[in-house]
């Protein structure tokens, strides 16, 4: 007898086979005519400038971190949610305190501005009145 998760494994295996099978089957039909330009990275028909693999914004990690905290706390909440009714008000309060702390943490993060996606206030263009007198080299 397969366990419940065993069946899910079968599901996954079937889907992997399906996808790989479909892609391989297409290989029987599809043409393959690579060329140098075709294998270049697409960027609207222009040459790419620099690699996209750059250090990315820290903001993403902050979100991931907050998410992690929440996720862990939520995992703790599930067993509580399943059974708290058996303990009546007391049971609810235990979870309630936990939730309150979670909420407090969230409020703190909110206040701290960690929930804000970085969005620096763009300054409307201000007119520079005087023309600069710095000589700029003229390209011929």
């Amino acid at each position: 007898m397969l366990t419940d998760f065993g069946r899910i494994l079968v599901f996954m295996v079937v889907s992997v086979i399906f996808v790989i099978g479909a892609i391989l089957a297409a290989k029987l039909v599809r043409p393959s005519r690579p060329s140098k330009e075709k294998l270049m990275t697409y960027e609207c028909g222009e040459d790419t400038i620099g690699s996209p693999w750059v250090k990315f914004n820290l903001r993403f990690y902050v979100v991931a971190l907050i998410f992690l905290i929440f996720d862990v706390e939520i995992v703790l909440l599930i067993p509580w949610a399943l059974v708290y009714k058996e303990f009546g008000l007391q049971g609810f309060l235990i979870g309630g305190i936990f939730l309150f702390l979670l909420g407090l943490g969230m409020a703190y993060e909110w206040r701290k501005g960690d929930l804000e996606w970085i969005r620096p206030k763009p300054v409307p263009p201000v007119l520079k009145k005087e023309p600069s007198t710095v000589k700029v080299e003229v390209q011929a």
């Binding site: 419940d4 079937v14 399906f18 693999w53 939520i74 009714k85 609810f92």
Partner: protein, 357 residues
Amino acid sequence: MTYDFFSKLFGSDLIAALIQSLLPLFIFILPYALFAVWWERKVSAHMQDRLGPMRVGWHGALQTIADILKLFQKEDIVASSIDKPLFNIAPVLMFVGTYAAFAAIPFSSVFIGSNLDLGVFFIVAVSGFSVAAILMAGWASDNKYSLIGAMRSAAQIISYEIPTILVIITIVMVTGTLNLTTLSEMQTGHFWNWMILGGPGSSLSKFLLIPSMILGFGIIYISTLAEVNRTPFDIPEAESELVAGYHTEYSGMKFAMFFLAEYANMLAVSSVVAALFFGGYQSPCGYLGNLIGLKWLIPIEQIFWFTAKGLFFVFVQMWLRWTLPRLRVDQLMNTCWKYLIPLAFVNLIIIGLITLI
């Protein structure tokens, strides 16, 4: 249960499980995906005073088949600068994540891939596969649009998982179970037993629950929209900014897999929402099979209702898509962290208090 039936028929669990897992793919998801793509084009067309596909088959009914067959013959471009293993794994992973979710969705009272006790959570967990897949696709492509799309998508999907889970917890608090079949069974009878109307029973708390449940439904529906990257939350593939987002570099069958997974995902989240709040496969008004005494009719009716509800929510997703503009990434995060999560919290506490009464 069909599983036991197959198991007896072939005398092997493995074969039964195989059949069990192939069935939804071939009798449900593929036809559905074919239908949904055509339907989306038709719905969008009629919303825009157009006609949509008309030239192949009746009102273009064969359009998606032609599309798939064409994608089948398309060259598979693997650009030279990409990270090949990741690039190839991503579509597989994307589809696996989606498809595994179907394992835990009850299509009817007799057919469920795997009747997990943790059904809902399994689905939420497994949908995390798509985050990994999208990130892989975006990263591997060596394309700036893909990368930005993938980054946005990762942030978006994990953020919106929190309100989803919070709402699911409220359901768990009310019903005391995570098993989707049990959940659906609880909402049997008529539509007033559905969770959106406070669940079964007729106590005072049921009526008190109604507003909270509607709020919870709203939150989970919006978050699931975001999790499957539909407008107004389609910024990972935001066409007008990022060309095609994380699958910009994909062509041919690999792209088709992303496409298929997207539509399958839409159905998956719709059926979860239906199972949580709208009685899953349950009929809103009793069964014809019960009425005329044909017991075998009931599962078929259930499949019908399941499909109908799933498709209805998919339709609403399409409807929203063709109505709304898309949000910007910071607004998207704001919506999640400042609106949905606090509201879900408050909702959780209110429901906790109500259930104590």
